[in-house]
């Protein structure tokens, strides 16, 4: 099953706006369940289960742990749990977008939106760099641990400047190098060509896209009803 990258962008935008405007927990579960199913259908089972587990744990914290705590500490944990939980649908859709969309496909789809070409390139590189940044961060953490510099909250608070220097410098140096490498690869593949780009894959809306959009529009209408009339 293939979903158009534009559909993925659109549902990501819809989710990120409506999740924070919506107060009902039922609707929020639907917003989390939809990307969960989408991730399952693209065989990203591990990612889907990881996010689902996190969602349920945070939900449980809100319902069972917070009432047991004193108000001030409870408030902080509550804020933390709710805020992260509301981000989970966006994270799921984000990882769906990143893991199932190739850069060329994304460029072709976004190119159809008639945005300036430079902006399109920057945006697709931003998406492409997400997983790489995670990998780089893990390697830096490993290297630091190997030299006996712990990347923990205590370590950061004790030596804020040193920790900042030791994480920033390798991070930014590797980012610079990677950006040069991507440039070489992209220019070799003719990204500078002035004519319209063509793409091996035909990027267009299919039945699946229509289906997803209809489902999302229904959920938004439900969210409106829930907000306005106090249903659910």
């Amino acid at each position: 099953m293939k979903i158009d990258p534009r559909t993925k962008l659109l549902i990501l935008a819809i989710t990120s706006i409506s999740v924070f405007l919506n107060g009902s927990i039922t609707i929020e579960c639907i917003f989390a369940a939809l990307p969960f199913l989408l991730l399952l259908s693209t065989k990203k089972i591990y990612t889907a289960l990881k996010y689902a587990a996190l969602f349920l744990v945070l939900l449980a914290i809100q319902f069972w742990l917070v009432p047991l705590l004193p108000v001030s500490a409870g408030g902080i944990i509550y804020m933390f749990a709710v805020y992260i939980r509301k981000l989970i649908p966006c994270f799921m859709l984000g990882s769906l977008l990143i893991s199932t969309t190739r850069v060329s496909e994304f460029l072709a789809a976004v190119g159809k939106l008639r945005l300036p070409k430079g902006f399109t390139i920057s945006l697709s590189i931003t998406l492409r760099y997400f997983p790489t940044m995670g990998e780089e961060w893990n390697s830096i953490k490993d290297a630091m641990a190997l030299r006996g510099i712990p990347v923990t909250a205590a370590g950061i608070l004790r030596h804020p400047m040193r920790t900042m220097e030791y994480t920033y410098v390798p991070m930014l140096v590797s980012a610079s190098k990677i950006s040069d490498e991507i440039t070489q690869a992209a220019i070799t593949r003719g990204i500078d060509h002035v004519q319209r780009r063509t793409c091996m894959e035909t990027v267009r809306f299919h039945v699946m896209d229509m289906l997803i959009l209809v489902v999302y529009i229904t959920v938004i209408i439900l969210a409106f009803l829930a907000n306005g009339k106090g249903w659910f």
């Binding site: 804020m79 805020y83 590189i125 991070m171 990677i178 440039t183």
Partner: protein
């Protein structure tokens, strides 16, 4: 320099994409941690300003071209909007990005003073999350209450809205921190990146 190299090229757009993501990620992680407790909540823009200075200084040194900071503002704004920040913050990122771009360009991207001024201005963007507390408290209250229970935060938020000096004080504090952050950035740039031939 001939005219062509003054404009943004493909290689610049690629660097813009990568560094915008790093900028937004640093702002999101540091800002997110700072916003979690009521005590550090009002200091979020200042803490972020301390940390993003290095990224900003390297960014200007690597892509000294007109338009680069505008795109940095737009992409950071989009990323932070998707991760649930108040929309005014993204608007601030875009607008201040465009102005900072003009300031840097007027110094030819080489003048440290102009770059510093641009960073001090751009670092005010997270203030976009606080200005609404004073200007349109009801709308902001609604947004925050949808986000979750804010009982332990409401006193902090109310005092920001009620005291006329709170916002100017935060602006000044952020500019000061941006200044320090910018200097740290310059120092790291000299110490590491110029030696490694990145800039």
């Amino acid at each position: 320099m001939n005219k062509k190299s003054q404009k943004l090229q493909t290689r610049d757009f690629i660097s813009v994409g990568i560094f915008s993501l790093i900028y937004a990620a640093v702002a999101f992680i540091i800002g997110g941690i700072a916003q979690m407790t009521p005590i550090t909540f009002p200091f979020m823009p200042m803490i972020v300003a301390l940390f993003t200075g290095t990224v900003f200084m390297l960014y200007i040194a690597k892509i000294p071209k007109r338009g680069a900071i505008t795109i940095l503002g737009i992409i950071s704004g989009i990323l932070l909007f998707i991760t649930g920040m108040f929309w005014m913050m993204s608007a601030f990122f875009v607008v201040l990005g465009i102005i900072a771009d003009f300031i840097c360009a007027s110094g030819g991207f080489k003048s440290f003073k102009k770059n510093m001024a641009a960073y001090c201005l751009f670092a005010l963007s997270p203030m976009g999350a606080y200005v609404p507390m004073a200007i349109m408290p009801t709308q902001f209250d609604e947004f925050m209450s949808k986000k979750g229970d804010v009982s332990s935060f409401s006193s902090v938020i109310d005092s920001i809205g009620a005291n006329w000096w709170a916002i100017p004080a935060m602006l000044l504090g952020t500019i000061l921190c941006a200044f320090i952050g910018g200097f740290i950035g310059k120092k790291l740039l000299k110490k590491h990146f110029e030696k490694a031939g990145i800039v």
